[in-house]
Amino acid sequence: MHFDLNDEQKEIKRVAHDLLAARSPFAKVREAAEAARYDEALWNELVELGWPGIAVSAKHGGQDLGAVELSVLLEELGYACAASPFLSSATAAAVIEAAGSPDQQQRWLPGLASGEITAGLGTPELAADAEDAGVIVLLDDDDAQLLDRDEADVEPFVSIDATRRFATVSGSGEPLGAGAAERVRTAIAAELVGVCQRALDMTLEYVKDRKQFGVPVGSFQAVSHRCAQMLRDTESARSGVYYAAWAADADPDRLPEAAALAAAAAAEGGREVTASAIQAHGGIGFTWEADVHWLYKRAQLDASLIGGSRRHRAALTRIGASRAARAAAPAG
């Protein structure tokens, strides 16, 4: 049992963290959001590093790594709140690699891994990055299908999260295999963990610095206990995401439950933690310049993209009830 990132995964995380801190500070995120476009330079750099194909096999032009490494990168992209189609593209590639047919893999993976094309990701009502995509992974409950962009009807959907392009999508494609929907949700949940961590870090910095009544506001328990809750929610989501990412590659039988845990914890946690960040920042937290709102908006859209938390709690109830029934059944 080793329930943590290994050294190589930690190194990937560190590299991604440092790169994004340098290339995608909030000034860049704001600039891209206000111009309603993506950060081209950032995308080119991610492509050069081969990250869109992180979870694609070498024979399809990828890095030959797995769901855990993808999660690690997504966490850092979420931390930066980066204005990039990376989540959609890298996740779609990972899903086609794991749950696509050989034809689908040959057709889409080389282009996605090399960054030549990008992918869209979501549901008919809400899909990220579908407009400029070559291919779209579309979920319908626990089923997933692959849609050629040229055969899909895509209508822009302007959401409150201006750091990301959304659309509604209609059309019918080819089905993807088992585990596709769960992998998509695990990936979005990983991004949410990063969003939570950033919201927590910004909040800690602020409440240590901001003084009222002659002391840092972080010394008031009403504030510090809220921060403790933010850590709890962040780590809860992280536990779920690590588990689901591990299960996706190592123990797919556990993936349905693990992905539901990750999705429910991350959707709920993301909304709570980013809301707390705004509250702990006080009046400044409500302003455009304070930047915490980008995280709040990202968390709202990610939570919606993941299907909300209620659906996943319902799935957990079904899983729990059947397990309880087995536990109660006489042995043998």
Partner: protein, 379 residues
């Protein structure tokens, strides 16, 4: 990342599982607290005979030298087999490891072996009426008299004191220095007339805890542990061990209770009720996240030798979740769950202690805020 047990861990689990299947603990006697305790003492003897009482102790002290993960497996399996904790759980988890770190060879020889067989039960004399969360402000005094110490004071929340031969006692030996510095850790013989044990009747009706009234009890010099004036450091060793392993027992108990609530809800057709189903899903989520986070905490300690924030988070989440679970059970079962003497009524009442015992939720949040998040000391 690897969430499977190693071959060695799996072998450990299978051997233990087989032993537990061959040696069922049976049902607890219902007559009195005393009989239930005696049952747990017998249970520990059987564990000791099988070599399972102190798995986490080093081999040189009669343990199996189990790793932290194996120790976690031990407590999980114990709970899974519906077996009770061994009677001398405080000796095995707290006193033993503390003596191993701070004790002299003579102390190790004298005290460790009878702990394992439950021949000598241990209790923990830390908290006082005026020193709960603020332990370092304790007032119990120990004054040197020849080669003995004379102790006067009062302790509270002392679990199992009525059955104990020995007490891990922290007392003030120097009133002239700052409060953390004047403390000494003693191993106190409970069998003396100068110590009165008064069971505290809990809101559940039972008595797990006691008050100790100490009026001139005597402790020989050789029963000072870790040196005079060093009591705070020694006590921290005890407290660091407080939640080790036990969390895994409680985590499985939580899962078992949740399975029972799910079965009850199913029987009543309530799984189709979206509000009930949502609450059950939330509990399932929390129970699993607690388990996962506890395992992440194990990896932290095994790999880096330092506990991360997981321990405090797990205790906080477990206590809150157990309260929510028992409240939901009462809600679903109606008056039946509130009938005195029934298991659900007991669980509902006992759960109120969870967010207080072993560190209140409020103190845990302070610890997380100050030590993990680096926030300034709370006001």
């Amino acid at each position: 990342m690897d969430l499977t047990f190693t071959d060695k861990e799996t072998a450990f689990r299978d051997e233990l599982r087989a032993w537990l299947a061959d040696n069922p603990a049976g049902e607890p006697p219902e007559n009195s607290d005393g009989e239930a305790y005696e049952w747990r003492r017998q249970w520990q003897r059987r564990l000791a005979d099988g070599g399972w009482a102190s798995v986490h102790w080093p081999v040189e002290y009669g343990g199996r030298g189990a790793t932290l993960t194996e120790s976690a497996i031990f407590f999980e399996e114990l709970a899974r087999a519906q077996a009770p904790l061994p009677a001398n759980v405080l000796g095995l988890l707290l006193a033993g490891p503390t003596i191993m770190v701070w004790g002299t060879d003579e102390q190790k020889d004298r005290f460790l072996a009878p702990m394992v067989t439950a021949e000598e039960i241990w209790c923990q004399g830390f908290s006082e009426p005026e020193a709960g969360s603020d332990l370092a402000s304790l007032k119990t005094r120990a004054v040197k008299d020849g080669d003995e110490w004379v102790v006067t004071g009062q302790k509270v929340w002392t679990s199992g004191a009525q059955y104990s031969k020995w007490c891990m006692l922290v007392a003030r030996t120097d009133t002239e220095v700052p409060k953390h510095k004047g403390l000494t850790y003693f191993l106190m013989d409970m069998e003396q007339d100068e110590i009165q044990v008064r069971p505290l009747r809990q809101m559940t009706g039972e008595s797990e805890f006691n008050e100790l009234f100490i009026e001139g009890a005597r402790i020989p010099d050789e029963n000072v542990l870790g040196g005079v004036g060093n009591g705070w450091k020694v006590a921290l060793t005890t407290l660091m061990n407080e939640r080790a392993g036990l969390g895994f027992f409680l985590q499985v108990r939580l899962r078992q209770l949740l399975d029972q609530v799910l079965a009850e809800a199913d029987r009543r057709g309530l799984l189709e009720d979206p509000v009930v189903a949502d609450k059950l899903g939330e509990l399932h989520l929390k129970a699993e996240i607690i388990r996962l986070t506890a395992y992440r905490g194990l990896t932290q300690i095994e790999r880096y030798g330092q506990p991360g924030p997981e321990g405090s988070l797990v205790k906080w989440m477990w206590s809150e979740t157990n309260q929510q679970l028992t409240q939901l059970a009462a809600d679903l079962l109606g008056p039946e769950a509130l009938q005195a003497g029934t298991p659900w009524a007991y669980e509902l009442l006992r759960a109120r202690g969870n967010t207080i015992e072993g560190g209140t939720t409020e103190v845990l949040k302070n610890i997380v805020a100050e030590r993990v998040l680096g926030l300034p000391k709370a006001r």
